[in-house]
Amino acid sequence: MKPRRKGQGIDLEKIKKMKANGTKGLHLDEALIFERSCEGRIGVAPSRFDVPACDAEKSIPRKYLRDDMGGFPEVAEIDVVRHYTRLSQWNFGVDSGLYPLGSCTMKYNPKINEEIAALPGFSRLHPYQGEELSQGALELMFQLEEYLCEITGMDAVTLQPSAGAQGELCGLLMMAAFFKDRGKPRTKIIIPDTAHGTNPASSHLAGFKVVPVKSEGRGALTANAVKDVMDADTAGVMLTNPNTLGLFEADIKEIADVVHKKGGFLYCDGANMNALMGIVRLGDLGVDVVQLNLHKTFSTPHGGGGPGSGPVAVRKTLEPYLPVPRVRKRGKKYSFDFKRPRSIGRLKAFYGNFAIMVRAYSYIRRMGPEGLKRAAEAAILNANYIKERLKGTFDLPFDRPCMHECVFSDKVQQPNGVSTMDIAKRLIDYGYHPPTVYFPLVVPGAIMIEPTETETLETLDRFIEAMKNIADEARNAPELLKNAPANTRVGRVDETKAAREPVLRWKAKPPL
C-alpha cells in the first residue's frame, strides 16, 4: 500500500465530538483491472460446447476476423469481486449518507423496488416476445401512464424517453410537429436564465432558436417578461417549476395565458416535481407538456449517473404526436399501437427503460395518494428548515419560503478567500455529499441544497451543525477548507490537468 496522505491539519477530534460521521473509511488501494491481469486466467468461463465447435476461419472469411483481444484483462473471479468491492468503498451514495445534491432529488431508493425489478417476470422478458406473453408488462405500463396522468393533470403519457433530457427533446419535437402539421412551423422558444442546461441544449437539437429571458429580481419569471418576447413565431416557453432557485413560479397561469393567446405551448421541466406531488397539478396551471424524471421524484436509483427514465405527459392536442408505440387496452387485453401517422417516431429502440418503470410503479403503489402528498410536504418542510437555520450564516439571495430546495451563496465567506468549492469539499470531511455548486448560474457561487423528504430531523441537524462549523472555520482557519477534503482516498483532484493532458483510457505498456 502507498503511504497515506497526511491529515493536513484536519481537526478530527472536533468533528468526532459533533457526532458527525466523518470520512475516515476503510480505503484499500486498488490498481486498474488491467494491471491485475495474468495470462491464462478466466473469471467466469462460458459453458462447454454441446454442439460441434465451429472453426471460425471456415465459416467466416479471414478478413472479417480479429487477431487478438488486445488489452482485455485476464483475471480470476476473486480478483473481479475484490476489485469492484474496493472501488465501491471509494464511493458515496444515498445509502452512505446525506446527499443534498440540489436539483437531483437524491432520496432514499427503496430496497423492495430492486427486488421487484429483478423478478424474472419483469427482467427476463424479450422486447419482441409478443403481446400475448407480456400482458403483465403492458398492464404495468398502462397503469403507470394513468398514474402519471393523474399526478400531472395531463391527458396522455409516453414512457419511452430514457431520461429527462430525452423527454425534453421528445416534448419539443412534438410541439414542432404540431406547428409543422398546421403549415406554420415556428422557430423560437423562450427559456428563462434559471433553466437547466439541458433545456437550451434540447431546444437546439429540436431545431429551435433559444430566446433567453431574465427572471426578475424576485427570482421568478413574470407574465410581462414573457409578453415582451412571445410572438407568433415562438413555439412556447420552457419553464421549470419550482424553478432552480427552489421557488414556485407563481405567475405560471398568467404566463400560460400569454403563451396560449399567441398559439404557443407551455412546456414545464418536471425535474422538480418532488415539490408538487399532490399539491399542485401542472395541467391545472395551463401546462401543455411536462417531462418527469422517474429517477428523481419516483425514487428510482441514480446508478452513479443513470439509467433514469423521462416520461412525457401532454394535453390532448399533442397526443397524436407521441412516440410509437402507445399502449392500448381493449376489454381486458393490452396491446401496442404502432399505427400512428402523426407520431414523431421513436427516441430509442423498444419501449423505454422498462425496469425503471417497474421501480417507479412500485413506489407509487406503496406510497398511495396520501404518501405522495406527504413526501412533497416533507421535502418542502426540510428545505425550509435548512434555509431558516442556515440563513445568516450563509448568504441567502432569496429570503422567502422555498419549495423542495434552497439556494445559498458564498458571499459571506468570500472576504476570507473561501469559495463555494472549498465549502463543498470541506463538507466531505464531515461525511456529507456536497450540494450542487455554481448552479443556478443566476446566483454567483451558488450552493443549492435539496435535502429530500427521506432524511431524519437528526440528520438535518447534524448537517446544519456541520455547515455552521465550516462557516466558523472559513473565518478562523480557512486553510482547513482550502486543503479539504483531507480524509478521502484522494485529495483535491486536479481537473485542469485532466483536460490539458487528456488520458481517457488505459494503454498497455509497449514490450521492451
Partner: protein, 449 residues
Amino acid sequence: MPYIPHTEKDFEKILASVGASSIDDLLKGVPEGLRLRGLLGLPEGLSEQELASALKRLGRRNSTVDEYSSFLGAGAYNHYIPSAVRSLASRSEFFTAYTPYQPEISQGTLQAIFEYQTLVCELTGMDVANASLYDGASAAAEAALMARRITGRDKVLLSGVLHPEYRETVKTYLRGSGGDVRELPFGTESGTTIPDAISVESRGAACLVVQHPNFFGCLEDLEALAGVIHANGGLLIAVVTEPVSLGLLKPPGESGCDIAVGEMQSFGNALNFGGPYLGFMAIKNEFVRQMPGRLVGQTSDRSGNRAFCLTFATREQHIRREKATSNICTNHGLCALMAAIHMVSLGKGGLMSLSRLNLSKAAYLRERLLAIDGVRAAFDAPVFNEFAITLGSGPQPALRKLLRKGIIGGLALERFYAALDRHILVCATEMNSREEMDFFADEFAKAVS
C-alpha cells in the same frame, strides 16, 4: 408514511422552528387558487408485503424467456449473466450515487467508468470511448449528428439493414435539424449493404451508418464500405448491436470505421423487456471535442496520487447550453458498470470462447433448420449468431404452432420489411442448449410440413 421518517412530533417541531403553523404557511408562494383540492385519484398505498405479492402476481402474467425456448435476437440478446455482475453492481455505493461531479468521493464510479471506456476501446479498436449513452439506437443518432458537425455536411445515409427501430430513431433525432436522411437498398441475395451500389449516394454525404453484423445477422464488408464513403469525404459509422461478436470479428477500428456505436446490453444487462440497455460510442482521437456524453479522464490529486474525474465538460450542456455537442445529462452509468464487470469476468479467453460458442450454436441450428423441407437460407452472406430463413409461405401459422410447444421461434421479418413476408430472423446464443435446438428443429419440421 413509507420512506418518510418524520413523526408528527418532528413535523410540529420543524414547523415551529421555521415560524410556520402549518405546511400551508410554507406554501404561500403557491397561489391558493392553483392548489389541488383533496387527494390524487390513485390507489391507496400498500404495505411492503402487500406490494411484493401484488407485483409478483403481475409479473406472473408475463412469460419469460426461461419458461419458453426463445430464439429471438434482433437487437436484444439473451446471454448468461455471471452472478458476480448483479452482486457487485448491487453495492449501493455504486447504485445510489449520481453522476460523479465531486471526484474525491466518487473515485469508485470514476475508475470503473475509466476501465469501461478502455474495454470499449479494446473491443472496438477505437481510440476514445465515452462513459455511455442511452441505447444503441440513440447512440446511432448521436453519431450521425456528430458526423454532420465534423463534415459540415447534411446528408446522412442509413443502410437498409440497419435495425429498423434504429433508423426510426435517427430520423426522429434529425427532425429538428432537418435535412437529408436516406435509406439505402440492400443486396437481396447477400442480405448486406453493397459497396458498389452506394457510390453515387455517397457523394456529399456526411456519413454512412452500417450495422455489423447487420439486422439480418449478416456480416458487412466494412472495409469496402469505408473505402467508398471515405473516397467521397464522408465518415463510416459502424453500429454493433451484438458485441459478443467482437470476440471473433475484426474490430471496426481496424476496418476503417470513424465512429463505432451500438448496444452493449449483451454484456451484463438483463433483457428487461427492452430497457434500460447501454449505448456505447467509440471514436478516433481527432474527433474527441465533437463527442457527445460524459468522459472520464485520469489525472492526479494534490499529492500526486492517481485520480480520476469527469473531463472535457466544455462540450456538455451544463456549460455550453445550446452550443453543447448533445443534450444528454443522465446517462446509463450503472449499465456500463454491469457491462464492464461482465467483460472483465470473461476476460480475453472467456470472451473469445463465448463468441465462438455463439457462432457454433447458430451454425448448428442453422444447419438443422435448413435441412427441413421448404426451409431455405434467406441470404448468402456469412453470419455470426443470427440468421434469416425463408419458408414456402407466411411464417405466422408455423410460429403460432411453435409457441404452443413452448418455443418462440424468432422474429417474422414482415413486421419491418413488407417484402420479406416469408422470412424469419432466428438467433441462437449460449443460452440455447443442443436439446432445445433439436426440439425446435423437430417441431419446426412438423409445423411447416
